[in-house]
C-alpha cells in the first residue's frame, strides 16, 4: 500500500466533492500558479465522468426467474438439512441430560442462567470488548463468538481450521515496536534492542509476506 502525498489526497478529495467549500476554493486557487495541477484535475474529472457514464450500476440478471427459484430451492434444502441435524443432536444428547428433567434441578439451572446473564449485562455496561460481526472466507470454517463472564473476555473460536503439523516449528517474535512505511507497503518489526526481526511486505494480491 502506498501513500499518496497530501497533494494527491487533495486532488481526489476535490474530484469526489469531499472538500469543504473553503478547502475547495483554496485548492482551485492553486491552479493559477500550477497549470500542471489544473491539467491533472481536468484530466481526472474527464475520466470520472466517462466512468460514471459507462459503468452500469444495475445489470439485469440473466434468467432472473431461475435465479430466484434456485435461491428458494437452496433455502428449502438448508432448512431440511438443519432440521435433520437438530434432530440428530437432540437424540444424541437427550440421554445425557435426562437428569435435567427433574423439576427442582431445572429450576436451579434457570436461576443460575439468570444470574450469569445479569453478571454479563452488568459487566458489559462497564466496558467489555464486543465482536459485532464475523466472516470466514472458507465455507468449511465457522466463527463462534462467546462472551465469557467468568474470564471477563470476549472469545472468538475459529472452528474448522486445519491443524498445524506437530513437527512444524512455530517461531515467535518479541516485537518491541514496529515502523510502517506506507509508500512501499511494508511494516518493519524491531526487537527491544532496535534490531530488525522481520519485514511484513504486501504482495500484488494484498497478501502479507514475511521477509527475513
Amino acid at each position: 500500500m502506498k501513500t499518496p502525498s497530501e497533494e494527491n489526497h487533495d486532488l481526489i478529495r476535490w474530484l469526489d466533492d469531499e472538500m469543504t467549500v473553503g478547502e475547495r476554493r483554496a485548492f482551485e486557487a492553486n491552479w493559477q500558479s500550477d497549470p500542471e495541477l489544473a491539467a491533472e484535475a481536468e484530466s481526472m474529472r474527464w475520466l470520472s465522468e466517462r466512468l460514471k457514464a459507462h459503468l452500469p450500476a444495475e445489470i439485469p440478471v440473466p434468467h432472473a426467474d431461475f435465479f430466484n427459484s434456485q435461491i428458494q430451492a437452496r433455502i428449502a434444502q438448508m432448512e431440511v438439512d438443519d432440521a435433520r441435524e437438530r434432530a440428530e443432536t437432540a437424540a444424541s444428547t437427550s440421554s445425557r441430560f435426562l437428569w435435567l428433567r427433574l423439576p427442582w434441578l431445572a429450576g436451579a439451572a434457570a436461576a443460575a442462567l439468570a444470574i450469569v446473564g445479569l453478571v454479563w449485562t452488568q459487566s458489559g455496561s462497564s466496558g467489555c470488548s464486543t465482536i459485532l460481526s464475523t466472516y470466514t472466507p472458507n465455507p468449511s470454517m465457522k466463527a463462534q463468538v462467546i462472551e465469557h463472564v467468568d474470564a471477563v473476555a470476549t472469545v472468538l473460536l475459529l472452528e474448522g481450521l486445519d491443524p498445524i503439523p506437530a513437527e512444524k516449528k512455530v517461531v515467535g517474535f518479541h516485537v518491541h515496536h514496529a515502523e510502517s512505511d506506507a509508500e512501499v507497503a511494508t511494516t518493519t518489526l524491531f526487537d527491544e534492542n532496535g534490531a530488525v526481526l522481520a519485514v511484513v511486505a504486501l504482495n500484488a494480491q494484498g497478501q502479507p509476506q514475511m521477509l527475513k
Binding site: 500500500m1 502506498k2 501513500t3 499518496p4 502525498s5 494527491n8 491533472e40 467489555c128 470488548s129 465482536i131 459485532l132 460481526s133 466472516y135 470466514t136 472466507p137 472458507n138 470454517m141 466463527a143 465469557h148 474470564a151 471477563v152 473476555a153 470476549t154 472469545v155 472468538l156 473460536l157 475459529l158 481450521l161 491443524p163 498445524i164 506437530a166 512455530v170 517461531v171 515467535g172 517474535f173 518479541h174 516485537v175 518491541h176 515496536h177 514496529a178 515502523e179 512505511d181 509508500e183 512501499v184 507497503a185 511494508t186 511494516t187 518493519t188 518489526l189 532496535g194 534490531a195 530488525v196 522481520a198 519485514v199 511486505a201 500484488a204 497478501q207 502479507p208 514475511m210 527475513k212
Partner: protein
C-alpha cells in the same frame, strides 16, 4: 520520504509500475535488514492507541511446552487463569511471541507475534468508554481465515481460539492498552 507520483504518468504504466513497486519493497526490506540494529528513520502516521497481541500455546501436558523465554505479562491480569476458564481442559499456557503495536488512524496495522498466526487491524475510530472500533483480520501465513468487526476495550481482552498444534492449541490474545 515524500511521494512523487503526482503528474508522473510514466510510473503508472502497469508493467513498469509493478516492477518498480516490487523493486522498492525488496530494496527497502534489504535496506532495513542490512541496517540493523539501527532502525530506518520513518515518519510515523497518526495513531488511535496501542494494542498488545500474543500467540499462546495451550496444552494439558507440561512436557510438551516449547521452552519459550517469553514472560507472562502483568496485564491482562491473571491471564493464564482466565485462559484456563475459557479453554479447558488446557492447563498450561506459554507465550510464544508478543507484539505491542500502535494502531494507525489511517493505515492498516499488523500485530505479528509470529509469522504463523497474526492480525491485521484497521481502526474505525474511538468507541464509548475509551474503546476502539476495529476491523480485524486473522491471517494464517498468506490466508485470511476470519474477519471481524469489534469494539476493543482496555481490561477486556479478546481471546481467539486458533489451530490445533502438538496435541494442544494455538491461541491469540489481543488487548487494548490504555493510552
Amino acid at each position: 520520504m515524500t511521494t512523487t507520483f503526482q503528474r508522473q504518468n510514466i510510473f503508472c504504466k502497469s508493467g513498469l509500475w509493478r516492477r518498480l513497486c516490487l523493486s522498492c519493497v525488496i530494496w527497502h526490506a534489504s535496506f532495513c535488514l542490512a541496517q540493523q540494529p539501527t532502525p530506518a528513520v520513518v515518519r510515523q502516521p497518526a495513531t488511535d492507541g496501542k494494542v498488545w497481541g500474543a500467540l499462546i500455546y495451550a496444552t494439558t501436558d507440561a512436557d510438551k511446552l516449547t521452552g519459550s523465554a517469553e514472560q507472562m505479562p502483568t496485564t491482562p491480569q491473571d491471564l493464564p487463569a482466565r485462559l484456563a476458564k475459557v479453554f479447558a481442559p488446557y492447563t498450561h499456557f506459554e507465550i510464544i511471541g508478543q507484539h505491542l503495536q500502535d494502531v494507525f488512524r489511517e493505515y492498516e496495522s499488523w500485530v505479528v507475534p509470529s509469522r504463523d498466526l497474526f492480525l491485521k487491524i484497521d481502526s474505525k475510530g474511538p468507541a464509548e468508554d475509551g474503546g476502539m472500533n476495529l476491523h480485524l483480520q486473522v491471517w494464517r501465513e498468506q490466508q485470511v481465515v476470519a474477519k471481524a468487526d469489534a469494539i476493543l476495550r482496555a481490561g477486556s481482552p479478546l481471546f481467539i481460539g486458533g489451530p490445533k498444534w502438538r496435541g494442544g492449541q494455538l491461541l491469540f490474545v489481543l488487548e487494548l492498552r490504555k493510552k
